[in-house]
Amino acid sequence: MLFLGSLVLFTKPLIAQEKTVTGSVMGEKNLPLRDVTVLVKGTRTATKTDENGSFSIRATEKQTLIITSVNYLRQELFVGSRNNVSVQLVLAQQQMEEVVVVAMDTRKTAKEIPFAVQSVSGKELQESQRENFVNGLQGRVAGLTVNQTGGAAGASSQIVLRGFNSLSLDNSPLFVIDGVIADNSTLNETSNGGSQLGLASDRANRGNDYSNRISDINPNDIESVTVLKGPEATALYGSQASSGAIIITTKKAKMNGKVAVSYDNAFRVQELTRLPKVMSVFSGGTNGIPQDVFSAFGPGYTGKDTLYNNLDNFFRTGFSQTHNLAVEYGKKNASWRFSGSAFDQKAAIPTNDFKRYNFRISNTTKIGKYIDISPSLSYINSVNDKPLRGAGGYLLNLLVWPSDNNIRDWKGADGLKKPLFNANPNAELDNPLYNVYKNRSADKTDRFLATFAININPTKWLAVAGRFGYDTYKTDGYTQYDSMSSYLTRAQKGQQDNYYRSYYGYNHTITATAKKTIGNFSGRVMVGNMWQDYETRQFAVVGNNIVDASRSDSNNTNPATRVRLSNALKGLPNYSIRRSAAYFGEAFISWKSAVFLTYSHRFEESSIFPKEFRNYNYPAAGLSIIVSDLVPAIKNSALNYWKLRGSLASTARSSQPYANQSVFNPTIGSGGGFAYGFNNNNPLLQPETQETFELGTELRFKNSRYSIDATYYNTKNTSLIVEGFRASYGTGFVLNTLNVGANQNQGVELALNLDLVRGEKFTWSSRLNFNKMWNKVLELPANVPEFYQSDTWTYANARGGLVLNGATTTITAYGYKRNTAGQLLISATTGLPVLDNNFRVRGDRNPDFTLGFVNNMSYKNFRFSFLWDLKVGGDIFNATERYLTTLGRSYRTIDRESPRVINGIIEDGLENTGTPTKNNISITPAVNQAYYTTMPEEEFIQKDVNWLRLRDMTLNYNFTGEFVKNLKVVKSLGAFITVNDLVMITNYYGADPQVNGNTAGSRGVGGFGFDYGNVGTPVSVNVGFRANF
């Protein structure tokens, strides 16, 4: 009463000088809190924080701000000389109801969740200025790994949660937007002879790249991202979320009767600074004798030779701009939000351009007392012009291009490819500039994503919710090889490779939840149903004899040379259709709001399998105990919160559609007809089985200023589906798809939240995400000594192969032969090492651990945040370096003129005796280039590659004072500078250890850790401003 009275009394403060105080309010885990009331003490001046947790209020130096929010302890803040404040609210323990959006677009209190859950705010992702928001997640979530394909614009990113479970199937998590499943596929180029959705040219996901489709999402529409890494995802989303789920919640407008407009932009310059090192000391030749060849084993250049810096002559400074606009309007029962984004990038690689436009409109309407609905519609348009990568790309040629030739001089007088040495242009490497200008590739995508949510709450104890989503896109893409390219023969006269892909995905989830509390117990039962219907159609055609190089359509070739996917015979596209129905239930009971037990069960029916075993089901259970509530004495110590939790789940993972149906191919022999193809698509194929459990604890200290969250997980996968492996012809086929093999993933994740400094002027909070994984192949068929994903066999004799009892992430390769003492064996005739030309495990790509270190600081009007990403351990096959070595351009070949004796033992029959013969054969590589050219792949598998990267660094400044005040309509104005990937400290001797030899379209473990012809991550500097109106 007294408090209210004082409000009335002091409505008009006198004397003191008013100023604008801006600030931001953070809640648990440093997530911004919206709708927090900020009141000037003793006045009626009040405001609420926006979705970024920001506020702006007028106050004098001598006043105090009172910050209140439901569930949080009230906090008071003396204004003083500050113009900018940052506040972290502490949960009110008594009535803590911190909520997290989890599966099925439902919100659960953090206390009851029996598994690790981590969220990243949309703001954080937006500030990272990554157009593919997935790349912004790296380092921000423990147990989440993003393997980028490379530094090109529009490149795909492989996302993995808690390691690789499946050897042959997709390991990427499920993406869910506002409770609706959205497609994140990356085009897989492999068509298996035209029978699947690949390219008609049937490639191996190495030479080109296609965006992973979730990158279509506008980062500016994201309110928050919650990562479900373990059992919870599988329990409720089922088999497709067996590798986890990424739950995206979009921004919604407030129903506060106001119009809010926000605009921000970013202008970015990008420089490729991480390139493989090449030396330009020797001219073309063989064994020291000059020749007109690319292989640089000729004599050294002399002062008379003009040498060019071809690397500099090739790349350009990338430039891009982004403009984001959002308009919100809400009244009592309805709100609207419109957003638009335009992104236009010219990347550092010539011709590599990427444009994207996003539009989205969303609405929330309350109908009557019990119902609210939220429809939304997004439209995305993107165009990506891409240079080719890997073995067919520009980079390898650029690196080995003779230094005494200017790459800019690539055109002959006729405007065509100008070969250096060979009369036949097709027989000679493509000049890299010729390559990017004449071997063209582009994708165009149009996507619509519509969601509809309905919530019906007829009584206090019952809630019914429906989430409906329709996702559709068309992507048209092509690759064109010029008629003179070395990737073709002269007879082919160019190649035009087109695909026309369309996707139609519908899914809905309907749930009904009832809850009841009796005494100390409260319970909740949820039942639900999910229907999913996804269809992808693809036409693909490849042909030769290009009619007009300026065209890119599929009619641009000689019809007689065209090859299409199998269904084209019938005038139809190839299809991939996947439908499933699921019923699930979850029962939950809690005692004294301190012990929480959840059990869920899901029944699935999937079109992937034949009727006999189309239905399968699996359970999940979890327990959460808030020890600090059970034993109140704990709270008197520094420890104010202690949670123990454990959960377990089993699930199934289904194969690709049709993997269990052998198909007939037309035969061209006498009488025609059909015969089975090579593939035993075994009709008895079963889903893979995944069993996982996790144990965890969360401790918070000093009124939650410091907290630690630790998790151990263990996932065992059995009856793994292995596709396309050879076995005895006893099956009646050559290649087989069978349930064989098992593996295990274990890991430890630690998340530390540190509210380091909470001063009046200066605040600093940090988050550390630690991740360590182990994986092991537990079973492989005895007749499969090595299983490998063939896409990863990118160059020479190294590939992503795995063996029994080894890790899932190993590299198998050819190597050196050694005696029983482990010494190199040397050939008595050549003096060179004897090679072991067998694929053996010679590396493991799995890092020892990774650590993400997120920091947020504020000082007056400045906010400063940065993310360090540390990776320790993990091996890389540096195929680029091997290529450069075999062509005499690697620095390791610079000391070729000094004779040497390779330290080893002569293979003379005595090598394994007590008196082996030490090698004494002298070699001078300059005249014996085999020293370099026969070095085995083992030599180029670099062990224990570490990196420390400054991923993102952002400095924000909020304008306050007279300047903003005079701008009338502007509520707030800020400017920022964000630098991406500025610092990388690594022991890797290649360009950038963040590499992937394949695209995210490759399945299984994929090609991360294979470095071949890819550029590293560029350094980007973004500047822009934000304004709210």
Binding site: Q196, A512, E605, S607, T731, G732, N783
Partner: protein, 538 residues
Amino acid sequence: MIAISCYSCSKKIDEAYANPNAPVKVPVEELLPQITSAMAGNYGGHGTMNDIRYIGAYVQNWQFFQPLSNYDQMGYTNSAGDVGQSTWRMHYYDIGQNNVRLIEWATEEKKWDYVGVGKAIFAWSWLTLTDYYGDVILKEAFRTEQITFKFDPQDEVYSYVRQLCFEALENLNKTGDGVSQANLAKGDLYFYNGNTTKWKKFVYGIMARYHNHLSNKATYNKDSVIYYSNLSITSNADNAMVSFAASAIGATNNFFGPLRGNLVGSGITAPTAIRQGAFIANLLNGTNSEFAGVTDPRAWYILRGNTNGTIKGVEPNKGQTIIPVADRPENFWGVSQNPSATNTAPANDLNCRFIFRNNAPFPIMTASEIQFIKAEAAFRKGEKAIALAAYKEGIVQSFGLLTGTYNVNIPAGKAITDPLLANYMSNPSVVPTSADNLTLTKIMLQKYIAMFGYGILETWSDMRRYHYSDKDAQTGLQVYRDFIVPSGGDLFPDNATKLVYKVRPRFNSEFVWNIKELERIGATSLDYHTQEMWFSKP
């Protein structure tokens, strides 16, 4: 509400199951063409023809043009190239599941003629397979969910062949339902054109072979051999032949024709650049002691001449270079080897004969083979008159096959005429005047001649029954008279002086992916191929 929200889900799910991109089921009429063509050499180049390029050197039908080939030496090549391993693939893959489905679906559709044909082909291919490899995967065959496979002993495969023959006959005898000659002809166009009577004769022929192969056993039943021979193919019109459309598409042409160019392999581990062997040449040019001085008119139909206009052959493991250039036989495409070896395929088959033309049909079983099977059994039974009659008929049918089917591109003046045939038949060293003078040697050598080129796998079975050099107790002479078994440096080192009796299981199928089972049956030992099989043992 939740329960009814997806009323039609199960139906929609079921609709989405089947692969819409490629057929998972095709009409049985569309399956049969590839299956029958695989018996010879299919679109992919697999079938018995592929392998007889090598096995022909074991039986000395032909030899490699250069010395020291693995097969002239009765050795083998066990490597990723799968040399001489097409029969394994033909049986398990090319015929394999396609035929399993054919039988399954034809049964569903009550097309009993197709069921019978499918079983007949399986009876033939199981017998061919086991005679080639010995122990093979039988009981676990075609299990799509397995990754390793147990081998079964040969006697079990033989029993199964017999069972399949009876099942084939049972179905081929059925009428009504979906049985129709016109419909069978759709799939059978390039074999028997829908004639189930001929298919039955083929099945009886398999039974005759089956019983004949067991001649060394106490259980050998001569009467069964004669019985089934009488029911089997008796005239060349009923011969089991794979024919070829021979269109512009290479795969529709004969595997041995110059268009497909499969006789050019010039490495000693894959020696397919072959020349006629000295043994066959000598049988036909009057050099062989058994037919001394008799010029066989069939020589110019099945063999090649040389610059001197004579018929000469290449000795095993010696190559053609030791032969004077004018005596070196042309290769089977009629390309002269004077003065030096030429393996390249000619542009057309205008100078090609016999089974070496692009459109030449390839015999799987012929009337003359059946007559010789009968002659041997009757002879062993002591029914000499029956044996002689069958022997003579075998020769006549052999001539008939050549004049009827392969009367193409015969050099001027070399064509077989009735007087020539009569002259040959009246020569007592060929056809004894008295049945008592008939010998096993004559029967087996005439069978050898009649089966030249196409019947190599059966010839090999015959020679293995006689252990290449067994002597005829009656005459004291080697049954295969003048046949010189390789020895010393002419024999493959791994053989350890023993002769070849089988082929090791396919490298890329079994050695790489089923090695444990090979170890169990001893197939990893270097001389596995010299171990005698069950069928020829007592």
